[in-house]
Amino acid sequence: LKDMSGPQACLRASEPTTTRPGPSLLVRARAGDAAAREELARTSGEAAFRLALQLVGDRELARDVAQDSVMRLFAALHRVDPERPLQPWLFSIVRHRVIDLRRRAQSRSERPLESASGAGSADEALARDLPDESPGPLERSERGELQRLMWSCLGRLDSAHREILVLRDYQDLSYREIAEVLAVPLGTVMSRLHAARRRLREEVLATGYRFGGGS
């Protein structure tokens, strides 16, 4: 296991793993404060990377998407309303970059992006050795198994299902924020999310996993 005394130890597995840049940081960054710009680049970069990784399943691609998204965010910083949360804006940029990548991959007849997130890349993407607050080792290992299964099943969902699941269950966005990122009516969010959860459940069950008892 990795040494957990470093900065990684700050990430608690049971907490939502997103960092949300606050409005004051945005105002200072827009005013040209170098330290604020650096902090904004770091926090938004981490959030963009995490979302891109969850959408494309490949660290290298996710890094490119995140870097490009942060550049675009900074280029349009003067248009961002500091009164509104920055995250939906940033996530819209990331989502559009991922859609561009998908289109490019399709036009080159490459393998679909989603196939990159198969079980082979799970060890690289998921940080197994971060602390988990589950009560006992058995529960921890069961949850870890389900997390790994879900990650590989997520790659088999279509992009619309995958992105809504990621935004709600992995990124912890509200329905309103999801509607903003996906540019869909609020009423569509619940039905699409439920359809996505159903599909994921079917995929997980198809692997032989049994809820409450593992595989």
């Binding site: 597995a13 680049a41 940080a127 879900m150 992995y170 329905y175 999310l193 359809a195 994921l200 409450g212």
Partner: protein
């Protein structure tokens, strides 16, 4: 989406997506009440809700390997360096386009006469100016960022 469940004792189909809304706390009081009643009567719906809750909990607690901190060191730090970078890149692109146009033009029209020669000289001068200007702006942008990095380096004092 309307699911396969029915409110027991009625012919009204139960809108299954309400289970997800219930799980996320996104329903009105009336809808919540409807889901609670449905859950009391339908073991299938209870099982489905428990499984969806397990999936949601597993997703929420999935830890991902974070990206390296140094990843963002190539950010343009100020508006001036960002503008210089965009302008420089634009000029370099313009220069590239100019070269392509020149090559195509020369291939299709053999230059002859003083007017043509003079036009070519101006064209070449424009290409040189935009190429050099673009490269200079990109260089100044990177230099500006590097100097800014040195001023704002968090570890500068530690290293002294």
């Amino acid at each position: 989406m309307t699911g396969s469940f029915h409110d027991p004792g009625t012919v009204t189909p139960f809108p299954e997506e309400l289970l997800s809304g219930y799980l996320d706390g996104a329903l009105t009081q009336q809808e919540e009440q409807r889901v609670r009643l449905h859950l009391e009567r339908s073991p299938e719906a209870r099982a489905m809700l428990e499984e969806l809750a397990a999936l949601r909990q597993a997703a929420r607690s999935t830890p991902f390997t974070p990206i390296e901190d140094r990843q963002w060191s190539e950010q343009p730090r100020t508006r001036a360096t960002a503008i210089a970078l965009w302008l420089g890149t634009g000029l370099l692109a313009l220069c590239g386009l100019g070269i392509v146009v020149l090559v195509v033009w020369q291939a299709t029209h053999a230059p002859s006469g003083t007017e043509m020669q003079r036009g070519l000289i101006w064209w070449a001068a424009g290409l040189w100016a935009s190429g050099l200007g673009g490269a200079l702006l990109v260089f100044l942008s990177v230099l500006g960022d590097r100097l800014s990095d040195r001023r704002h380096d968090r570890y500068r004092r530690v290293l002294k």
